[in-house]
Amino acid sequence: MKQYDLIVVGGGPGGYVTAIYAAQNGLKTALIEEKDLGGTCLNWGCIPTKALAKNAEVLRTIFDSKDYGISIDPNQIKVDYAMAQKRSREVSKKLNKGVQGLLHKNKVDIFKDRAKLVNGTNVKLTASEEILAAKNIVLATGSHPFKIPGFDYQNPNIMTSRGALEMTDLKASDEVVVIGAGAIGMEFASIWASYGAQVTVIEMLPRILPNEDEAVSKEMTRAFKKRGVKIRAGYKVTLVSIKGKKIEVNLEKNGESEKIMGDKLLVSAGVRANTENLGLESAGIKINQRGFLDINDQFQTSCATVYAIGDLTGKLALAHVASAQGLEVVHQILGATVKKINYSNIPRCTYTYPEVASVGLTEEQAKGAGYKVKVGEFPLLANGKSLAMNETTGFVKIVADEKYHEILGIHLVGGHVTELIAAAAGYIDLEFTADDIAQVIHPHPSVSEAIMEAAHAVVSKAIHI
């Protein structure tokens, strides 16, 4: 029986990062992955969606090129969505190969098989029937998109994100309905709207991107409407039925009903943990009410030698959470200092047009938590770089406490703001105040200056508004 210091189950950003880091730190490590190295993230999540978003950005740029002194007869622009998908798949493939290379380089043993726990230190490979042993086991089996029951998912036009990443026949004349206005639903809506499709986004909660600050939802509603996307927030889907080649979606809000016809339907309603047939019982591990695995601050399940990380743990379903948890598990196993992860201080990004990025508490949450709040805002309309780039939709909103100007939350809407939020995450993580941010000399011209201005607004007043 092969003996390891660490067996990692699942090769997503939780599992593969854990395995590499463990191996770099001298642990003899095995990784078991039944499908694709890189997991959901690299193959059916973060990466292929961003490749599609880039395609969409290119297309938008072309359609707007008149503003920049370039004229192209629109009839001469030939758009091939299947080719866009092809590039997206190729990027995933390349990264998948890259992960394989990294695991090899770091001497992680890879088993392409399905794993099942035998007990707290043994794992059985389902196909080969081999049993592996380890001092510690990390479960990083991830999640899959939730399928709202009652829809016919055999119909190729009714899909979750997985199907949407394989769908190649989008036409500019298509009507598309998206159920669920979280990050994933909004990202696909943004991509398809860029390709000219008539998109409707339906959200049960009263506003799109319901986890974001209210100001963000408002700005994004405005921006998406301006792009021609229909927003139906606070609506309940009552019935989905097939009408010939069309999908009919029935909605209701305050007793009033509405009917929307679509050629395609995306169901984007959260994720469910991959816990089936994992042998959890044999290690005495229970699934919680929400279907996820509970972990303590050391990332241990109720079985001390079995850790769980990533989407499986039902925290924020984000790749960087999975990876960060994985690094800390390795610290725990090595007896090094383990960082306690504060899940409210994780940066959250939505790669739409415009983009959304945030970290920390919303204004409402901060007030709910009992803080006396001071808000500093700055609109990109007053930012020189945004004007030069012709991307003036959006703002920076800093939620700080009144007394120390401690940063509680930073909320961004705008072009490429997902690249600005890391700085904010650093400031929050290391407990800097708005006064600190305000006096950091930011480069001119840059969108990042808007963060400095919003910090000035917390301290006293912004300069450029």
Binding site: Y404, L430, T433, D435, D436, Q439
Partner: protein
């Protein structure tokens, strides 16, 4: 009054200053900060001598 930077019970020090102070076994409460809003900088820690702060 006690010298030092512990206004309102908060000691504000840069990450690097904290690292250095820990290594030196120095209590940051004793150090006067000269950085932003009285934050303790690495130089404050480097230059700290009990005598120099007595005043």
């Amino acid at each position: 009054a006690t010298a030092g930077n512990a206004t309102d019970g908060r000691v504000k020090a840069s990450p690097l200053a904290k690292k250095l102070a820990k290594e030196k076994g120095l209590d940051l409460q004793l150090v006067i900060g000269t950085g932003n809003n009285g934050s303790i900088t690495v130089d404050d820690v480097k230059n700290y001598t009990p005598a120099s702060q007595a005043a």
